[in-house]
């Protein structure tokens, strides 16, 4: 795992020693996977906006008229964020946005489950229909954890280790 970084100013680049270089590689792989995941999930949802709108509606947290418009917007937002992570542009904003989206989604799932609503996700379109709720939640927490680890590695203490 990462050693605590030495005191440096934002302008200096950080010298990478063995351990940090290895972890940096891990983070790059994680970025690739996360980016691919969000691009894939986004495209899948963009393909069937009405299906996604129905999935959002299942949570019963938003009125239909708002949910249906989000159903068009969110998938493309995921795709754009995934692409910017790959391209290393608008990177900080992208990660922050994804962390926000995944957290909100986990919260919404918890609320729905507490209300007894059976939400079969909808994250991966109808491809994700066969996963159990616990499985979905575990996957989402894993994604959130990965995002937070990447974020901390790249942007902790206002440093940019891009």
């Amino acid at each position: 795992m990462a050693e605590s970084p030495p005191e440096v100013s934002g302008a200096e680049t950080i010298s990478v020693t063995g351990g940090r270089r290895r972890f940096d590689l891990v983070v790059r792989v994680a970025e690739l996977l996360i980016a691919a995941l969000f691009i894939y999930a986004g495209v899948l949802k963009a393909y069937d906006p009405l299906g996604f709108a129905n999935d959002i509606d299942n949570y019963k947290l938003l009125p239909w008229s708002l949910g249906v418009r989000l159903a068009f917007f969110l998938p493309w937002l995921e795709v754009v964020c995934g692409l910017t992570i790959l391209a290393r542009r608008y990177y900080h904003g992208s990660l922050s946005l994804l962390i926000l989206l995944v957290s909100v989604f986990i919260g919404a799932s918890a609320i729905a489950k507490a209300r007894g609503i059976d939400v079969t996700c909808g994250c991966f379109g109808h491809a994700g229909r066969n996963m159990s709720f616990a499985g979905h939640l575990a996957l989402d927490f894993a994604i959130l954890a990965a995002l937070i680890v990447i974020w901390r590695w790249r942007f902790k203490d206002n440093r940019t280790r891009a």
Binding site: S65, F72, P75, W76, G93, N158
Partner: protein, 143 residues
């Protein structure tokens, strides 16, 4: 720093808005923007065929019409013998399967009545009515 992040987030949202609006424009006539349409309404024969094994056919016509000819594998389910016929269809049903009800043509009310009872009493999701009815199936599968 947070100012930069905020600006980036705004920019990302703006960029995402472009394809989103384009797609919404493309689908503008196909999406119910104000209220959701009940999932249980009409399905075309093409849609039905794309569902493959996940589909259960239900013939809402009378026993006599069913005996004279029906979609292969379709379950007869009508209001005359609802209690007797329903269990057979439910035996084949599992969550995730779609049910397609048909009767003698678009204007026939039998399929509507059967679909309505499946949705409200039996409370299974994904109940559809075949657009064009039995005639539509016959056109695609002439004897």
């Amino acid at each position: 720093m947070s100012g930069i992040v905020a600006r980036q987030i705004l920019a990302l949202c703006a960029v995402a808005l472009l394809p989103a609006i384009g797609e919404a424009f493309y689908f503008r006539d196909k999406i119910p923007w104000q209220t959701p349409v009940a999932a249980s309404e009409y399905a075309t024969l093409a849609m039905a065929e794309s569902w493959g094994d996940d589909l259960i056919w239900v013939d809402a016509r009378t026993d006599a019409e069913y005996s004279a000819g029906h979609v292969p594998g379709a379950f007869s389910l009508n209001e005359d013998r609802w209690n007797e016929l329903l269990p057979h269809m439910l035996e084949r049903w599992a969550p995730g399967k779609k049910v397609l009800v048909y009767c003698s043509s678009q204007s026939c009310n039998l399929s509507r009545a059967v679909a309505h009872r499946l949705r409200t009493e039996v409370q299974i999701p994904d109940v559809y009515i075949l657009q064009g009815g039995w005639e539509e199936w016959l056109k695609a599968h002439p004897k």
